[in-house]
Assembly symmetry: C2
Homo-oligomer: 322 residues x 2
């Protein structure tokens, strides 16, 4: 049985709606046991008769407008803190998901779960190539100014993550402004040299236009460039689709099949509502869904957390650092 | 009469093909006088009877595989050096275009044209919003590691450029990993503070997903992030189109009107072959077309150079720095 804790507070949509995703996840995964923190009174009618789903009452929520450190100190009865306290006290819990505010999740996870060895926590986002295979970007925003050594740590964590999702020997590439080793900022050039000697399956530098259809599974960058990369993939995808719709309307194209494809592509490029960012480097994998998450998002991120726990992500990270 | 020098050597396609774009440009612009450096023997049949187009014989070309500094020293009879020598000796020439290798253009332009005052040269790329209005990204790759003061210089040059293409009071935004002033790397946070006091029309930070449909005309970033941004816009646009084509084929959609729109969008996102990067900060504006340029690219970049010269770009840059 894989045990996962889920915090449903602090998102845009009501907990009563989001819990439907949690219910779906336990129904679809026979080996999942789920703890859900939230407003027990409001939520209990939604989970009546649902097996392997345990409600944990947490009357407070932490919102995006609060200072993360203050909220951590003062809101011990919040959905976020109660869920993480549970993870801390119960060694059988293998993963944690939340749609709450990123800053608070980050601070509270660091304080209550602790780090793996000497690793700096970072945010990983998984994207899909056109053929559906996964790639990941590390770091996506947790570490804005990085030394070269930190980029190598990101590569190791990204490699462990890809192994946990089923890629046997993940290829790592370093995001740069040119494919040659000598291209890049001073930090990137140094990171390239360190990665060449790291023992990782490192293919060299990659430019940003070679990522979505490229052969690298792990894209390494600092949190600033990672954020630029991720957000511009999202923005460009949406811009192309918006332009297609405008031009199609002008041309009088009323093709519902094409529009259906566009809707599929829009959802794909709307990463935020689809999957979630994974906080790596804490003792348990933490998956953070977007604040605009739907019950589908909740179901998806619970399933992802379950898979990462079942495949021993934390142990795989430890192995990469040994 | 606006005088422009064009170098047709060092690109992927033969000079005889590229010169067709030069001929078209002088035919379409009555106030353009064009100097073209290239293999005069091969090119003269192509320009017979064409007015306001003067061939300057330059038997050598500089290729992408050569060291820029070595090439500058040794290839005085190359299309690139001959064109820049012409610009240096004739004060009436108002702009220079080339489809040769970026590094060699950069080095030779710095050496032969010289800088405007204390400004560090940088690369600007112009993109189009969905409604066709222009935005520019500065720097796109010339300055990889930058101090905050340099980012303010980029903002001033970008503002001057946008004024030269007809935007009365361009809005500048700073690329960051969050919209709030406190978000960003140490350099970006400092640049935000400097831009707030710069007298420029500064709207604050922008995330990468807010650029293509945003209100900022000038996007300021270091050359590393600018390259990531530009390349990922290109890569994502192409990936969406490739996925649409695959899904449309699978769904059995055979709609030539939709495919025509996709071709238009593909060309738009294929920046490299469409326009060119503008080297700003040298005494003359230098437009660098991609190595894969076609005769259409050549025609477009000559017209752009003509417009920038006619609108006094260099004077506008000087004004922004006074």
């Amino acid at each position: 049985m894989i045990r996962i804790a889920a915090d449903l507070g602090g998102a845009d949509r009501p907990q009563q709606e989001l819990i439907e995703g949690a219910v779906r996840a336990v129904r679809e995964l026979d080996d999942l046991y789920l703890y859900v923190t939230g407003d027990a009174k409001a939520l209990s009618p939604c989970v009546e008769g649902v097996e392997r789903l345990e409600l944990v009452d947490a009357p407070e929520v932490i919102t995006n407008s609060e200072d993360p450190t203050e909220a951590f100190k003062n809101k011990k009865n919040s959905t976020l803190i109660r869920a993480l306290e549970l993870c801390k006290s119960d060694a059988d819990i293998g993963g944690f998901v939340s749609c709450g505010p990123t800053g608070a999740i980050f601070v509270a996870s660091m304080m209550l779960l602790g780090r793996i060895a000497r690793v700096s926590p970072m945010l990983l986002v998984e994207l899909k190539r056109a053929d559906g295979t996964p790639i990941c970007i590390v770091d996506c925003g947790a570490n804005v100014d990085c030394r070269a050594e930190k980029l190598v740590d990101f590569a190791r964590m990204g490699t462990a993550y890809m192994k946990a999702v089923g890629i046997a020997d993940p290829v790592t590439a370093l995001l740069s402004n040119g494919a040659e080793d000598k291209k890049g900022s001073e930090v990137v050039k140094k990171a390239n040299a360190l990665l060449r000697e790291s023992g990782l399956n490192f293919s060299g530098n990659t430019e940003a236009n070679g990522i979505l259809e490229g052969s690298a599974d792990v894209i390494v960058c600092d949190g600033f460039s990672g954020n630029v990369l991720l957000k511009s993939i999202e923005g460009s995808g949406k811009a192309v689709i918006a332009e297609w719709r405008r031009l199609a309307a002008e041309a009088g194209i009323k093709d519902s099949a094409s529009e259906q494809i566009m809707q599929r592509l829009y959802q794909k490029y709307d990463h935020n509502t689809q999957g979630g960012a994974v906080l790596l480097g804490t003792r348990l994998p933490v998956i953070k869904g977007h604040g605009a998450a739907t019950s589908e998002t909740v179901c998806n991120i619970i399933k992802s957390a379950c898979k990462l726990a079942a495949n021993g992500l934390t142990d795989k990270i430890r192995q990469e650092f040994n």
